[in-house]
Symmetry: C2
Subunit: 367 residues, 2 copies
């Protein structure tokens, strides 16, 4: 078992990583003095698989338990859903010692964190991420959010959990595509901050894809360390340090949105976004061709897409300009100067962006 | 003109108090570097009276302006209303440099602050309070909130404005009842923290009720200083310092709620709540009878109610037990040991509370 610390003075918390850590939940909660009544927000599939065991662990530790099950899809992250949950919480909060457990992937985590941040101006919540993507990324850092028709995460808050409990065992019920989606973010950490992690992914890809516990634990540990260190120095994402986490995300989000969140999942879209950002870096002569090819090869090895299918260039460019990371009409890209080294560049000519996107379009894609 | 500072490190801000300060709005906004596009949340009456002048001031200073008018009543503070405003803001936020102006009383301020706190995880907002109550109390301190059917302010945040601009001239369009409601909170500041302010209110009551500019400025300045100093040392109301601001509010809220927010406005209910808290203090021998009578006399002089009409004891007690300041079934009261000196007391026997409430019931009230 490993512990990674997010250092934010009074809002500091631990990220616990290990196998079967969920069994220790009662102990951790009791140490946190977090409340009496657990309100568990989860999705239907997770509830079916792990609801009974979580319920048992919580009750044996003296907590009351109420489950709220939501559909595991992006449109659950809505204001309507938050409202319905907030009203439900008010109904169950008779002892005024309620706390929230986010037990699921990124959708559950973002929604549960938002609801926790605004109910009674903030009640405690914890994250038990059940996907690799949530474990290495969204469960850490306190960004909460729900979507508006006008854009993703347009409503939300910065609100830190009291603990993040990562149980590697939970990953065994994921399908291959979900695992690969999480691995895209692990690859990102290597590219932006850790050449060693990148090489480790190159050499240990078989063990990782076989979901060998030891190798999973290593890459999760390293990823969460990088995320935790960036959050610790830039909690509200306004000092520039957290920005590098957006590597691959500017165009990646546009690809995700242009495909209506159905064609590509988050990790797949980010894999394509990272390739485009790397390609732009190459065109601006920040990296050489060999470095670009190393990145492309690693993404391919992990079964992530390297070509965009069924989405047109214009749809991607349009979605791109709606991205909230744009300030006015100025664009800002996280590029790389090497593996493990980022460079922020403003105002990249639209032609270069278009060329790099075009380069990723598969032959069968309409343009 | 006076400036009172709320000291919260990077979230520090100024409270500007004066006559016609609204004319300086453009200057202040430009110094704050707050954005380009002003989204003004206000109520219909304020829009009719001051909409044109505010619009002109903002446009002359180079801002675009969009007004959002809401009904000035408690049920505007709903999740549904926030939802509709958030969607509207997303629609107007094309340049991504939008900021919010809360231009109204407490309802507008609480709602606008909440919306500002969650749109894009927080955009800047300022307060231009238009009621005496909002000027001396709710516009300062960053408590935002909307109501649920289960209780007032159950959803909200701590989110500080970038400036609070108090224009005494705006008070001249209020009716006597609204002025008195605000004076109840001014009296509260005297009772909890400032014997000098209390004496000033006793001796200058005629000048104040005549809305003499100089006297209004003095009591607003002193009230905001007290509020600002308590907020500065206890931003999130979890260190105990801000608690004393709840003097009169525990039973006051219950009276307000039991009357469905129609029989008594906030200040009137708080005046009654202060009398009950003072009466409990007397029964517990924390203050003598003469001190109690001084308080009762001052409240009476300012035209605030000293007897409860049309609400029953049981309705008040029931509403009282639903108050969110209760921890479990334990009660906590802010009492006084003298004028200007508070004492927090837990677990006051229900009999004593009931006796003090009964003592306030007018003869015509059903019991």
């Amino acid at each position: 078992m490993h512990t990674v610390k997010v250092n934010l003075n009074k809002r500091s918390y631990k990220v616990i990583i290990g196998f079967n850590t969920i069994n220790l939940l009662g102990q951790f909660l009791n140490k946190l003095n977090i409340g009496f009544d657990a309100y568990v927000i989860t999705d239907y599939a997770i509830k079916n698989k792990y609801g009974k065991i979580l319920d048992k662990i919580l009750r044996q530790s003296g907590f009351t338990v109420k489950f709220k099950n939501i559909p595991d899809r992006e449109n659950s992250k809505s204001l309507e859903m938050s409202f319905s949950i907030l009203k439900d919480i008010a109904h169950y909060d008779f002892r005024r010692r309620i706390f929230i457990i986010a037990f699921g992937g990124g959708v559950v985590g973002d929604l549960a964190g938002f609801v926790a941040s605004v109910y009674k101006r903030g009640i405690p919540y914890i994250q038990i991420p059940t996907t690799l993507l949530a474990q290495v990324d969204s469960s850490i850092g306190g960004k909460t959010g729900v979507d508006l028709p006008e854009g993703k995460n347009l409503v939300g808050s910065f609100y830190q959990p009291r603990i993040v409990l990562i149980d590697i065992k939970l990953l065994y019920s994921l399908n291959q595509r979900q695992i690969r989606s999480g691995l895209a973010e692990v690859i990102k950490y290597g590219i932006i901050k850790d050449k060693g992690l990148f090489s480790y992914l190159e050499t240990k890809n078989r063990d990782i894809l076989a979901l060998d516990e030891k190798f999973l634990e290593n890459i999760i540990k390293r990823s969460t360390q990088i995320k935790a260190s960036l959050v610790s120095i830039d909690e509200r994402d306004n000092k520039g340090f957290r920005t590098i986490l957006n590597f691959g995300h500017t165009v990646g989000h546009a690809i995700e949105a242009a495909g209506n969140y159905r064609i590509y999942n988050h990790g797949e879209a980010i894999a394509l976004g990272m390739l485009i950002a790397s390609d732009i870096s190459r065109r601006l002569r920040l990296i050489n061709h060999a470095t670009f090819e190393r990145i492309e090869k690693l993404i391919r090895i992990f079964g992530l897409p390297v070509k965009i299918e069924s989405i047109s260039l214009s749809d991607i460019i349009n979605a791109h300009y709606r991205d909230k990371k744009f300030i006015g009409k100025i664009n800002r890209f996280v590029l790389i100067a090497d593996i493990g080294k980022t460079k922020i560049v403003d105002n990249i000519p639209l032609d270069i962006i278009k060329e790099s996107v075009k380069n990723r379009l598969s032959n069968i894609t309409p343009t």
